[in-house]
Symmetry: C2
Subunit: 213 residues, 2 copies
DNA sequence: AAATGTGAAGAGGTTCACAGCG
DNA sequence: CGCTGTGAACCTCTTCACATTT
């Protein structure tokens, strides 16, 4: 399965759960597209789904439950994922809450910070630990996904320590390029970059408006 | 200028400021690529930059300061941007801090929440206001960018009200497709989707490892 | 008749190879 | 000689059109 399709598959999965909750048991690619606000075309949906196997019935549409299960399987949502969060400031805290509420099989299993005022704090049964003990705690908690929510200068070292502790996938919110030599998947969430797209678009729109006037 | 190039331009800009701070006054596309951890090729960098005009000297490289200024101009970093944040939970709080610290011309100018325990709270001179007065406050504060950090069910209504108040660019952290009919640029930050890429990749890697064994 | 599944065409962006300057 | 700037080849993903199945 191709890379850019994965977030789409996840969107389908969510939409299918919604449809199922609304009492439907079958859905067409067109209905699914409508549910997603037509941000994705029905053709695209069919291409994505057909690449997983013959999941629909011609003339009828897709049976929701089997399709949702298939998507959950492909996306790895059937495993339980144990997540380690480094940095428990506002961002880390927000992510912990979000992750826990979002998907029942995502489980925050370890939290780290450097600040003495946070170490020892309890969050939903998890004690915030000192970053110095990270390797040990990550392995004991059996974490397989890491989230980096620390300031940029500290991120690189933490990424390397996470990788050393056996974590193979990292979601990085620090605005730095992480260099982990081991084969680890790093996804960067570049908030400032996203903002810059907005500011660029707004200035470009202004320039166009002036040119037309 | 093409869309996917914008975050790259922003990355160049950051790297150039770093290089300037390190005392350099000139840089080649290859050096810049190295500074970015080779996540972007030197060819790509030259293509991106050349589309802005002839900014480099053949045989020498790029003069850092003029180039950084040009990038800042293209990205709209020379304007002052006034940002309205809806939702002041941990996420909203984290974003406010991040935005303020990140770029001096990004200014959080209004904060909204629905919770009585947050309304009236002061954050760096800004008073958290009731979401009911959003339109009025946004206009008074002259906000031109909106950030949505509220739970999914509330996001749609807030997006529409932001658009009605004249905001034309929105960064949305709620896992919902926003439908604003006015021409507004919406960027969705899909945290769950990003996580799903990690879980997919990890399960696919496991499946491959088993297949090889 | 209605909706899926799919080869072929198309668009969009990246890489290559090298011409053009300093 | 070194590095930029760029047309052309390339590749990847999306859209189109339609054959296929219930």
């Amino acid at each position: 399965m191709i890379d850019p399709a994965i977030p789409r598959l996840y969107a389908y999965h969510r939409a299918l759960l919604e449809a199922a909750a609304a009492g439907k048991s079958t859905i067409t690619s067109g209905d699914l597209a409508a549910l997603l606000g037509h941000t994705i075309s029905s053709t695209q949906i069919r291409k994505d789904l057909s690449s997983l196997g013959p999941l629909g019935r011609r003339g009828q549409g897709y049976a929701i439950n089997p399709l949702a299960e298939q998507l959950a399987w492909v996306l790895g949502l059937e495993h339980e994922w144990r997540i380690a969060i480094a940095g428990f400031g506002y961002l880390g805290h927000a992510l912990a809450t979000f992750i826990t509420s979002r998907e029942s099989r995502f489980c925050v299993a370890a939290i780290f910070d450097r600040s003495p005022s946070l170490i020892g704090v309890d969050w939903q049964g998890i004690t915030v630990a000192d970053i110095d003990s990270m390797e040990h705690d990550i392995q004991r908690a059996g974490c397989n996904i890491g989230v980096i929510a620390v300031p940029a200068p500290a991120a690189q070292a933490i990424a390397q320590r996470m990788a050393a502790a056996g974590i193979r996938a990292i979601l990085n919110f620090a605005p730095t390029v992480l260099d982990v030599r081991v084969p680890v998947l790093v996804r960067n969430i570049d908030l400032a970059g996203e903002l810059s797209m907005l500011t660029h678009w707004l200035t470009a729109a202004d320039a166009n408006a002036e040119a037309e006037a």
